[in-house]
């Protein structure tokens, strides 16, 4: 099964294929004609928002056109100072929560065994396949893509700094899965094969997710913590 999954990674199209916009030119041509309605079916409000099943809907935004550029030259108000104040305000609030540990339970998205997991303390992950750590090993998950709490989320581009987040986990169990049956048969060809196999399963317990330093700080030397020379 692991081999098959490895193959599918090669066969299945990558992220980029999802991003191709096929009908961009077509929609822009439609917009130029005066009688043609200006919405596309992709931006229609969903059924649940129309039926009032959802408490808040932002689909209203889609019905409005994008603000057009002014035809003549215009003075642009410089809002960079206000934005800077907003940024510093938000950062100080987040840092205050980190310093006081007043954020609640944290969750994180980590990359482990070539796949991404959304984890929170006390979770148990099952890693399928050959994985060297033994029972009782304490490991630190270092590829952290995202850490979030009830009030803020920290997103890595692509990873968060290793001195910002500390995720500790323990290997609690190593065993085999249930027996899988791989049965092949060709009709009227006297061909029949049956194989049995079991995967290696490694259970790891997430012990803690901690934010260990404040955000928006740059140290003199980075990337040396946790390294052995």
């Amino acid at each position: 099964m692991a081999g098959i999954r490895g193959l599918t990674h090669c066969l299945v199209p990558t992220v980029n294929t999802f991003l191709q916009k096929t009908c961009a030119n077509f929609t822009s041509i439609c917009k130029l004609q005066p009688g043609v309605p200006t919405f596309s079916p992709r931006f229609l409000p969903t059924l649940t928002s129309v039926a009032g099943l959802r408490t808040h809907s932002v689909a209203k935004r889609t019905a409005q056109p994008f603000p057009k550029a002014p035809p003549h030259q215009q003075n642009v108000v410089d809002t960079s100072q206000e934005e800077l104040e907003i940024i510093e305000d938000v950062i100080s609030k987040v840092n205050h929560q980190i310093a006081n540990k007043s954020h609640g339970r944290l969750f994180a998205v980590v990359q482990l065994f070539n796949r991404q997991w959304k984890i929170t303390p006390e979770d148990v992950l099952v890693v399928e396949g050959y994985w060297p750590p033994n029972i009782g090993d304490t490991i630190r998950l270092e590829k952290v893509l995202l850490v979030g709490s009830s009030d803020f989320s920290l997103v890595g581009m692509p990873l968060l700094r290793p001195d910002l987040v500390n995720i500790q986990a323990t290997v609690i169990e190593k065993r085999l899965s249930h027996t899988h049956t791989h049965f092949k048969k060709k009709m009227r060809k006297q061909y029949q094969r049956i194989n049995f196999y079991r995967h290696q399963h490694t259970m790891i317990r997430i012990n803690s997710i901690e934010l260990t330093s404040c955000i928006n700080e740059r140290k003199d030397i980075e990337g040396l913590d946790g390294r052995v020379f």
Binding site: V12, Q20, Q64, P65, M157, F183
Partner: protein
């Protein structure tokens, strides 16, 4: 001499023909798998054999289909979550990808279900990033979401 001859017949490992288990146990092996079936598929060996083999074939095929099915499911969930925010999946994924946010569809669908505020914040950021990079036709994007300040991302305070 006689005992040696018998021994050579019974325990010769190089014999080509190996009869295997007896008829009864060969049948039990199949009928064990058909124990939860209904009707004659459960008890009659010849009928049970066909359906057990077919069931095993289906399970083998289904295991191959499982990973691609899950990928489609995750993509569908991210797409639906993005449409709830007023954009489509292309804007969402490309806005994040151009900022080197490597969250995949699986983790994004988890966020869409269990952490909707994080998913919404990521979507608002993705919209702004998509628009500021000049991807696609900006007329189709709708109005910008409020409360997003992109500029602070690249500004780092240097402590001396």
């Amino acid at each position: 001499m006689f005992l040696t001859a018998i021994r050579s017949i019974i325990y010769n490992e190089n014999r080509l023909y190996n009869p295997g288990p007896s008829k009864f146990w060969r049948r039990r092996r199949i009928l064990r798998l058909s124990a939860h079936y209904f009707g004659r598929r459960r008890n009659c060996y010849r009928i049970a054999l066909v359906h057990v083999q077919r069931g095993l074939l289906y399970s083998t095929i289904g295991k191959k289909q499982r990973s691609s099915d899950l990928m489609k499911l995750h993509a569908q969930r991210v797409s639906s979550g993005a449409e709830e925010l007023g954009m489509n999946m292309a804007v969402y994924r490309r806005g994040l990808e151009s900022a080197k946010v490597c969250l995949n569809n699986r983790s994004l669908s988890d966020l869409a279900i269990w952490e909707p505020r994080t998913f919404k914040a990521l979507g608002n950021f993705a919209w702004n990033n998509y628009a500021s990079q000049g991807f696609g036709n900006i007329q189709n994007l709708g109005n910008p979401p409020e409360g997003v300040v992109l500029r602070g991302l690249r500004r780092m305070k240097i402590v001396e």
